[in-house]
Symmetry: C3
Subunit: 163 residues, 3 copies
């Protein structure tokens, strides 16, 4: 067990290492846009998809072709891609002082009800990496379709701390 | 009739009292997120649902199981929940200097057309409380489904004035 | 060919003129909201529709009644309306220092996959006017329906440079 200096909270990069999570390479834009732009202390990220090595890891709708657990995993993968973009943009996730917005958009049929459980696939990942004191507000919508036919798109707006 | 000091505009809290509107308790998050986060002068709120005492007040789609008027009422209730969160977070709605974003997301079928009228259920409430000079920009979408099966989700980003 | 001072980059207004693009009049709100609000250095715009002279230029879903090319044109028209609002609000598009968010919301059926190509109708317009160095992050969703039955809604958040 590692002894910790109580005055120095554990950073996101150290938590990632302790969790054994290796971030993927940042995704490549699908069109004439960039993955992140900074304005003031906010970094706005593009919509992140559950893409691994440039290919959709899941295709279909949650509650249709895909079940709840697959939706949760897709939300986590999309969120990891967002963290990868944030790290590439900022140099280190330790510079993220808050998550100002988490949007989780879920391709569903009209009678789907379990949005919150699916979105927690992204929220719990953020909680594990940034800690409970940096929990984000969250917008969750069931949408008709998403790029490449994926079940999940994640939107992140993060606040930067100047180190 | 109350005499008013022209130099001191009526605040949102006084307008709420004059309208006889009592805000509900702030809703409880449905997962690993919080209802509001401040970054700089902006407060980002989570998506607000038409929930009363923890239960959905309406379930279904606008233009389907629910009519236009029910959609408008659902939008107003979701917006009241957002105001309740903003007050709990800021201490007083008088500290809201602007509404930077109002998103109204409406569960609909593909042939629905009356989004603007439904969204006005939220916009007119904000207008009554913050005044015409603080009208917000607005994003309105018809979505496939929403958490708990509710017909409306409201997104608010408000700007804080330091009193 | 015009000789250019390398030290003085071409502004958006000059690029618009060189492209022969004349911006339309800003659209009129469909309800109790305004087209733009500034908070700090950010200007939040309302959702922009592919409306010309107050009438929808396209009605229907992309991949249904409308094809990909019509979707792209609708995205460009909605984006032009946004630029018109930004110019009216700021006095000149040369004051836009960054596009912090581009949202492109596309009315589609569940099996639509070509969201990125449609959204590029808006992104390529922004690239032509603001230059490659100001490319925006982008959120693209397939939604169930949009106000007035249009196929596209565009959301813009722009950063203002104080001249």
């Amino acid at each position: 067990m590692v002894e910790r200096d109580v005055a120095a909270p554990i950073g996101a990069e150290q938590l990632l290492r302790e969790l054994g999570i290796e971030l993927p390479s940042p995704p490549t834009p699908l069109g004439a846009y960039v993955e992140a732009v900074r304005s003031g202390d906010l970094v706005f990220l593009s919509g992140m998809l559950p893409v691994v090595d440039g290919k959709p890891k899941f295709v279909g709708r949650v509650g249709g072709e895909l079940n709840l657990e697959e939706g949760r995993r897709a939300a986590a993968i999309a969120c990891l891609n967002g963290l990868s973009v944030a790290r590439a943009f900022l140099g280190s996730l330790d510079r993220v002082s808050a998550v100002a917005k988490l949007g989780v958009y879920i391709a569903t049929d009209g009678d789907f009800r379990e949005h919150a459980k699916v979105a927690d696939g992204a929220s719990e990942l953020l909680q594990n990496i940034f800690g409970t004191e940096k929990l984000s507000p969250r917008i969750v919508l069931g949408v008709a379709s998403l790029p490449l036919g994926v079940p999940i798109e994640v939107e992140l707006v993060v606040e930067v701390r100047n180190l």
